[in-house]
Amino acid sequence: MSIWLQLIIALVAIAAGGWVFRFVGQKVTKDAPLYRDMPFGVAFGYVLGAALLVWLVSVYYVARTGEPAVANKYFFLRVAIEGFIGFAIIAYYFRLAGIYIGSEGSKKLFRSMPLTASFGIVTIIFYAFLAIFAGQISSLTIIVLAALGVPLCIYARVNFRADAAKSIVGVVSVTLIVFIVMYFVGPLAPYGQEEILGAANVVPGGDPAIGGNPDYPLGTDQIGRDILSRLIYGAQNTVGIAFATTVLAFLIGATLGFLAATIGGWLDQVISRAVDVLMAIPSLIFALLLMTIASVWAPELGIPLTYFMVLIIAVIDSTRVFRLARAVGLNIVVMDYIEAAKLRGEGMGYLIFREILPNATAPLLAEFGLRFCFVFLTIASLSFLGVGIQPPLADWGTMVKDLAQFINFAAFAPPVAAAPLLAAGAIALLTVAVNFVVDWMLHKSSGLKE
């Protein structure tokens, strides 16, 4: 009960503070419009915000200086605050770098970028880096990349505007250099994802006093695989599979959507009604149902269940893509320039690929980001529920499920409890990052219309 009492007292104090704040503001500034016309709610809001800030700062200092019991209690809050500030600084410097390095176009882009989007882009790059270089890359990869990159550069120099060609050459060469460096640096994960080490059930945190081992900072699982390595490989598996699924969903959904929009008639009717029915079943529920069926099929056909999962989620998600692609397509189809092209006598292929598609890329790209998040979360949820990505592949959702019980160690050994949160946080961080970037893109494209 005392907690509620404290809360009420705090609120009353803040309310009083709000009134004083406004009153003092009016007196000091001699009725400047800002204070004169300020509603009480706004004053209350300012003081509430200030109070929260003061509380966070004080907690942070308590956590840093207090005795172990107190420090443990506020460990996670401290980490959260430090993490928040750390990310903000990284995002700030990334944007700063972007403003000074790169082509004119990219510099302009960075100048108008909010910190959240900058944070999102850094994070996405970091995940991509982890995913690609989790294991040792082969020399073949580098050869293939070079074989693709060099002709692309030559093509760009001949066909594109000078500045566009320059940035393509820049991107290709940076990518190649990174790959070559990483080839020699070696894998990021200290051990293989399926490698079974000597010690099983090592507690996370690396503190020998409670059963940890500094060689395995995050401990080992029940059959002795290094959790840190599996976390890093998780980026490759979880992100890679989600990405592939999203691409598949887009291939199915966008193709059907544009066909329905341009051809119309019964084709549109049939697909749209089918999509309506599929969308009437909540997607996670439908995925679980189909996964049940697939789990019976998989051993019969000898195809890993993960492939089924990719297909199932891609089909379910393609319905959403279809809706969007169709709507975007319909908006474009009614444009006069499409009518002009039709009256010119252009064929269906020209209409779709040269007239409609170039105008649909912006909304589709934003949708790709959102879909990726959705697919990624669905896969993580399925894995968490135990029917998603199958062992022995390392995967974050499964890891959260397996490590969940360590959370009860939080009060006396915070680093131990951090392990499951790290896996869950890894999922959250990426989706948050993608969403920030998408939000910025949507904001930008809607702002351009005004």
């Binding site: 108008s112 444009m335 006069d336 009518e339 009256l343 007239e355």
Partner: protein
Amino acid sequence: MSESELLLKVRDLQIEGRSDEIWNPIINGASFDLKKGEVMGLIGESGAGKSTMGLAAMGYTRDGCRISGGTVEFDGIDLVNAPAAVKRSLLGKRIAYVAQSAAASFNPAHRLIDQHTEAPVQHKVSSKSDSEADGIELYRKLRLPNPDEIGFRYPHQVSGGQLQRAMTAMAMACRPDLIIFDEPTTALDVTTQIEVLASIREIVEEFDTAAIYITHDLAVVAQMADKIKVMLKGDEVEEAETREMLSTPKEDYTKSLWAVRSFQRPQKPAVHTSATPVISVQNVTAAYGKVSVLHDVSFDLHEGRTVAVVGESGSGKSTTARCITGLLPPKQGHIEYDGEILPLDYRKRSKTQLRQAQMIYQMADTALNPRKTIGELIGRPVQFYMGLTGKQKRRRVDQLLEEIELEPDTYYSRLPSELSGGQKQRIGIARALAAEPKFIICDEVTSALDQLVAEGILKLLAKLQDELGLTYMFITHDLATVKSIADEVVVMKDGRVVEQGPKHDMFKPPHHAYTDLLLSSVPEMDPDWLTNLLNERGVDNIGDAAVGKM
């Protein structure tokens, strides 16, 4: 002018608007005075800052705008720095506003009369029942049909012209000293516009209300205002009494605005009746699904001629164009090209047949693919129809750009978004020319453009016609355009051809009653035009016109 008569005093008003986190100026210092009972016309092209200034005269700025300098004094009260409560006590009560789109500015959730009485009741000017009775009285004064009953309808149940009058009544509810009219007739058809103009003028005179009348239409403002202020891109150009301004404008910009209306092509000799028309529309009847929109429409277009198809919205002008191009195959009748019957559906027409008839659209924004460069846009028909590629194609595109008076090297690799409205429309013309057609349909090509720009487009089209012997079908609702460019006129109403003939015959009486109404409703630059017209028609006649429309 004595101080006591002065109602509104605006001095060096500056307004800024925010885009991309930067404040950009919208109005750079405007000053004017308004006496009690005086009507000031505020005119300018789009982007001149007229509406922003009208709202600022009420001490109000839209979101993302701010008054950055200067003063607005209403009856001695400083509106820029007044507390919100003081401003609120003036708005609606002593200063009222009539918005451009009445349909959007009435709250769809409440009856008209409830919205009418809101201001008087909230400002404690009168009781709800008194104000309701007064509202009905005002509706009657404004000649709304069924004044006793119309207020009890919801906004979506009332037509646009009537809503606009109901909104004027609402502005009058507290008998304000000042009303801001923000383009109140722009969205209306000409015949409706005249009723609204007449009723606004009458009621403003009756209650001796001062007003600021914002519009882009010179002829309209000439009817309404005692004095006129001209704006250009946020700057004031000049200000004078209406008659003085019309007869002797001082600034070049004002003179050029006035001159727009004087562009007129020389009359062409009459067509030989025996000549085969380029396009012949013969007894065309068409429908969208079951709703029939065209009834037995026939007319001819002769080589080198411009035929203007005139009518109000919904008269079937654009549908006729869709029938000719084959987008909407007619139910009956057919289209002849050079004496040869065209397939009804465009998909069945040959490439040559498609090439011969080209189209220029009203909205250049939607007519040009925003992702293609100018070179690609014009180059495509060149390649598609003429089979030119590489250097030859480039040369032809350059040639076309020169014809539409745009510098090829500057514009070749630009995107449509990097061009102004008039330039985009020129690209639309070049794309049509690229097919080397005989016949071009111009669908309201100038109605989305400012008057000066529109005139440039008309002159260009006239020049091209003389050079290339093109035949134009000009779809428009603007009779000023018809006067300046047409050789022959076809008047349409409700999907039928009401009257057709050479232009000089059409603009001379006697003609069909509808043509008469249409023609006489086009405002002229004479300040006495509306008064004369109303006398001519007699007051009751206006009401008849309204009924006739419904």
